[in-house]
């Protein structure tokens, strides 16, 4: 573990208790460990009930940990000094209806220790940045969900925090808005800001995150670079072959064929599921031996979404077969998602 890491989570555990006598145990986090380095955009992924929001709330001191350790900006998670240097956009946040864009920034800025004069100086620029430049004097009652998200993002950035923790920042935002938010995140990344991003929008995670951690049922399933993750299951190879169809079918093991589509003339686009380099070599030898022309050969890279689904489904299958003591799947309790 690096001492300069912004977030260090080590064997972090959280158990909720439920029921009249609080005897029902729900393990939301079961020994999670990872770290977030300075200047990094770090993605937190996982299905519903994986423990992502619990993780963020523990880092901010909104929820207390049951075991393990967590530090935020070098301080134990939840410490007030640590929170002062963090900007947080909660999922489904609510801004009181008596406020407008300007007064909301004034209010949340004051809570973050920013003087009213500083807020007034910065709010125009910030609102413009999130696309609300014309909406500062409008009551938040009239804001759409996307506008509220943008305002939430503005308040999180207002005090120029070292770390931004964003929980579903593009939730409810239209595609154009999502692109704008992605752009803002990229700009912040370029400025050297660290971002801890929890999002269901895997495409945007893929686009902006340097590293991700995948949580499932309270445990870490994978941690690493996005490239590493998408490369893990990249065993498909797409060939464009030229030859008689009957010859092609004779030369290729049908068990390896993932897809087959004619593309005109005697050419076919064929995806083969090949497990390792030896299988690739073997397949190539057979195609060449049959005198089939190889127009192109492209290894297929999975999207993050595909890699995520593969990983989660594989873990689930393994869990169903082997794990009788697997954690209870959390579908809904408290604020956990």
């Amino acid at each position: 573990m690096n001492d300069d890491s912004l977030v260090i989570v080590n064997d972090l555990r959280k158990t909720y208790r439920d029921g009249m006598l609080r005897r029902r145990r729900i393990d939301a986090l079961k020994g999670v460990s990872f770290e977030v380095k300075p200047g990094e955009v770090f993605g937190l992924l996982g299905p519903n009930g994986a423990g992502k929001t619990t993780m963020i709330k523990i880092l901010l001191g909104i929820v207390r940990k049951s075991g393990g350790s967590a530090t935020l900006l070098g301080l134990p998670a939840g410490k007030r000094h640590g929170r002062r240097r963090v900007g947080y956009l909660p999922e489904n946040h609510r801004i009181p209806h008596h406020l407008n864009g300007n007064s909301a920034l004034e209010y949340y800025g004051s809570l973050s220790g920013v003087s009213v004069s500083d807020t007034k100086a910065r709010r125009g620029e910030l609102l413009s940045l999130v696309g609300l430049g014309e909406w500062g004097k409008t009551s938040v009652k009239k804001y759409s969900k996307g506008m509220l998200q943008r305002l939430g993002l503005a308040q999180a950035m207002l005090h120029n925090p070292e770390l931004l923790i964003l929980d579903e920042p593009t939730d409810g935002v239209d595609p154009v808005g999502r692109a704008e938010i992605r752009e803002i995140l990229s700009r912040l990344k370029d400025e050297g800001k660290s971002i801890f991003l929890n999002s269901h929008m895997l495409q945007e995670v893929e686009l902006v995150c340097d590293r991700v951690v995948i949580l499932e049922k309270g445990s870490v399933r994978h941690i690493g670079n996005v490239e590493e993750l998408t490369a893990i299951s990249s065993t498909d190879v797409v060939f464009v072959l030229e030859g008689e169809e009957s010859l092609l079918r004779k030369s290729i093991d049908p068990a390896l064929i993932a897809s087959w589509s004619p593309i005109g003339g005697n050419r076919y686009k064929i995806a083969l599921m090949l497990n390792g380099q030896s299988e690739v070599n073997r397949a190539l030898d057979r195609i060449r031996a049959a005198g089939i022309g190889i127009c192109s050969m492209t290894p297929h890279r999975l999207t993050l979404e595909e890699a995520f689904l593969q990983l989660v489904r594989a873990q689930s299958k393994r869990g169903e077969i082997a794990q009788s003591d697997e954690p209870t799947e959390i579908t809904s309790f408290g604020d956990e998602s």
Partner: protein, 771 residues
């Protein structure tokens, strides 16, 4: 700190964005605008009111007698001016009057008096009402004399009425109360509303404050707080709902301080409303009535405090359940619980227990008697270990719930071994200021009450001198009873007239003060049998009256007192003790009436009773907070005697042996040895079930329960500056009358403790909760 101030600022922003707030502010503005033209114009008092006539029937009879006599008297002038119908009805009343059948009179006295007063008021406008010749034997006061000198033709209508009113009271000084110097005429937009109120400036201001207290308690204390609870109910649940609290808790704030500042901010709504209304009323009172009472402004924090108590319950519910409806329901349930506890205690005290408290202790030689607040007299029965009711009779009976003590006395006449009292003719109506009857009960007749002659008007004290003669003192003077007080008059009726010999009934003869001297309320008299001297206090004047050889009492010394409000007085022969309504006890040398000392044992609490030991050394003053103060007149110092039941003592007296007797509970009388103040004896019957339930269940629950409703006491204290309030109206100048102590500190401490507990519990919950 700035962050928390931002939370409070945001609360004000939220309150100001509330439509309900603006509706209430507009309604308040309309109320203040509607009130603005309402005022009281001070003018010369001239209207005759019903309460100005002490004994209506006797006054009417006097008018009738003078009116039909040949001699030129005021009555001879006034009588012909009355309508014939009224004259005829008064004459009928004269014919029907007899001691035995006054209750069966066919004439409606009330209606007759109303007509008489109405006609007299009309006559006061007439220039020929006052006739110098007719008034020859009566001296007009300086003011009337000055008006008369100016000449009737030169007087304005109001001045003429004033002159006629002064002339009327000069002619019938024993029947008609002196008119106050000024009266208050209610005016609205310059239009006069009703008759002028017989109140001077101070009384008017006091009356306005009384009305104001009711208005504020209702508008702010009840409606305002309820609306504020409804409006503010959603503030805490909204703050703690998911999405909102996450954002707030991610900021560098303390959870508890965040809640507490939100709580303080939640009071913004009531603060804005109450401040607007009360500052408006303050300005209105100042500009219209010249009452610049800064204490009125202190009502703003009091109402804020009242609201915060209910809001603490609402806020706790808001944090736990995050539902505004639950908050309102919990606040209402809390109010209901406080109401039930307070009402249960109040009802048991008022309707069952208070009337059992002793109002008077009567040490009677070897036995002990006491009269409870309902007027029932009891004698201690050592063998039965209980109290037995005695001194029962047909008249001057029981007053339910003890709201007004229906007697003066009783006192023990050692020489005749009898109880003597002035009992009210009409049970339930206080004797003070009205007519009563002499009542006597001899021990050898088992203290059976025998009711005799009518007592002088306004009798406030009944006393026994060293010769065993019955004396009375009141605003109409000092009187001695002549005759046999135990004689029972048995009427012999024929055609409605009583032909029995009434001479044996006896009568009260006046023994003071000298002619030309008169006393007025507030009044109090004390008597020392050994030196045979009276000490009298009358509206700021203190006098010692000595017994002249011819039997009368005349003023030997007179002095002005620092205050002219109500006071109680007692004398030991050497010293005169004056306990002022302000709570200060002043000591004077009886010979010179020079003040020798003063003390203030219980702040501004009003005194209720003074008792002195037979040797004059110990002075016991009981206050309306039910605490008894003891003073050593020999060493000029207050004594801490550690008396039982301080705060619950209802009366006290010294017996012949110098022991102090103090009554508390329902009742318990404790005798203390003088000097050592060790308990010599206790007189208490076994407690009844209700009393036990009250003492061990109701009172402990009440003690620990918050008392938001009792913050009205604080408002009353701030506005009226009184530590107790008269139970029966119109008794403000009578310190002996039952007064409810205004306890301001108990509700403040109890409510503060509750508020601290509720806020503490809520903070603890928030600190431990995972949001």
């Amino acid at each position: 700190m700035k962050a928390y101030l931002a939370v409070i600022k945001d609360s004000f922003r939220e309150a100001l964005s509330s439509r309900v707030l603006w509706i209430l502010l507009i309604l308040t503005t309309l109320l203040l605008l509607a009130l603005a033209p309402l005022g009281i114009r001070e003018e010369l008092a001239s209207t005759l009111h019903r309460r100005d006539i002490r004994a209506g029937v006797e006054f009417a009879q006097k008018l009738s007698a003078q009116g039909t006599a040949a001699k030129l008297t005021p009555g001879r002038t006034i009588w012909p001016m009355l309508s014939e119908d009224l004259q005829s009805d008064i004459e009928q009343l004269n014919a029907a009057q007899a001691p035995s059948d006054e209750d069966d009179s066919p004439i409606n006295e009330f209606e007759l008096m109303s007509r008489l007063i109405s006609e007299l008021n009309a006559l006061l406008d007439r220039a020929d009402f006052y006739n110098e010749e007719a008034w020859k034997g009566y001296s007009l006061n300086d003011e009337a004399a000055q008006l008369q000198e100016r000449g009737i033709d030169n007087l304005s209508g109001k001045e003429l009425r004033r002159l006629n009113r002064l002339a009327l009271q000069a002619a019938y000084s024993t029947d008609i109360v002196k008119a106050p110097n000024s009266a208050g005429q209610l005016v609205y937009f310059g239009y006069e509303l009703g008759d002028p109120l017989p109140m001077d400036r101070d009384q008017t201001q006091q009356g306005v404050k009384n009305v104001l207290m009711i208005v504020m308690s209702f508008l702010v204390g009840a409606i305002g707080v309820f609306v504020a609870i409804l409006v503010s109910a959603s503030i805490i649940p909204q703050t703690f709902e998911p999405g909102s609290i996450d954002l707030l808790l991610s900021k560098p704030l303390s959870r508890s301080l965040l809640f507490l500042t939100k709580f303080v901010g939640g009071c913004a709504f009531i603060l804005l409303n109450a401040a607007y209304l009360i500052v408006g009323l303050w300005l209105y009172l100042g500009l219209r009535f010249d009452i610049w009472s800064n204490r009125l402004l202190l009502c703003i924090p009091v109402f804020l405090f009242l609201f915060s108590i209910y809001y603490s319950v609402s806020a706790f519910a808001g944090v736990v359940w995050r539902n505004a409806v639950v908050c309102v329901v919990m606040a209402i349930l809390f109010w209901a619980a406080c109401f039930v506890v307070g009402t249960t205690k109040g009802a048991i005290e008022s309707f069952a227990l208070n009337s059992k408290r002793f109002a008077v202790i009567v040490p009677a030689g070897d036995t002990l008697l006491g009269a409870n607040k309902s007027g029932d007299v009891f004698q201690w029965q050592p063998r039965a270990n209980g109290w037995r009711q005695v001194f029962q009779g047909q008249q001057g009976g029981h007053v339910p719930f003890g709201f007004a003590y229906p007697m003066v006395g009783p006192v023990y006449d050692a020489q005749a071994d009898q109880l003597v009292a002035i009992s009210s003719v009409t049970p339930g109506f206080p004797t003070f200021g009205g007519a009563g009857k002499l009542a006597v009960g001899k021990r050898d007749e088992d203290w059976r009450r025998v009711t005799g002659v009518t007592s002088p008007h306004g009798t406030q004290s009944v006393l026994i001198n060293s010769d065993g003669r019955i004396l009375t003192a009141g605003t109409s003077g000092l009187f001695r009873f002549e005759g046999d007080p135990t004689y029972e008059h048995k009427p012999w009726l024929l055609f409605g007239l009583d032909f029995a010999d009434k001479k044996k009934v006896g009568k009260f003869v006046t023994i003071g003060p000298a002619k030309g001297q008169s006393w007025s309320q507030p009044f109090s008299a004390g008597y020392d049998a050994q030196s045979d001297t009276f000490a009298v206090y009358s509206r700021g004047k203190l006098a010692v009256l000595e017994h002249l050889p011819e039997g009368r009492f005349e003023v030997a010394q007179e002095t002005e007192t620092p205050e002219d409000g109500a006071a109680l007085i007692a004398t030991t022969g050497e010293k005169v003790i004056l306990a002022a309504k302000s709570g200060e006890v002043l000591l004077f040398e009886a010979d010179t009436l020079k003040q020798t000392g003063s003390y203030r044992p219980f702040g501004k609490n009003e005194p209720r009773l003074i008792s002195t030991s037979p040797d004059g050394r110990w002075i016991a003053v009981l206050f309306h907070n039910r605490k008894l103060s003891l003073y050593d007149a020999e060493n000029n110092r207050e004594v801490d005697a550690g008396l039982l039941g301080q705060g619950d003592i209802s009366t006290a007296a010294f017996n012949e042996a110098g022991q102090l007797l103090a009554a508390d509970r329902f009742p318990r009388v404790t005798a203390y040895e003088p000097g050592s103040w060790e308990i010599a004896e206790q007189y208490e019957a076994p407690s009844e079930t209700l009393e036990l339930v009250y003492r061990y269940v109701v009172k402990p629950i009440y003690t620990v329960f918050p008392k938001p409703g009792e913050l009205d006491n604080v408002v009353a204290y701030l506005l009226l500056e009184q530590k107790s309030a008269a139970v029966v109206g119109d008794q403000e100048d009578n310190l002996q009358a039952e007064r409810a102590p205004i306890d301001i500190w108990t509700p403040i401490w109890s409510n503060l403790a509750f508020l601290a507990v509720m806020l503490g519990l809520t903070c603890l919950y928030i600190e431990r909760k995972d949001f």
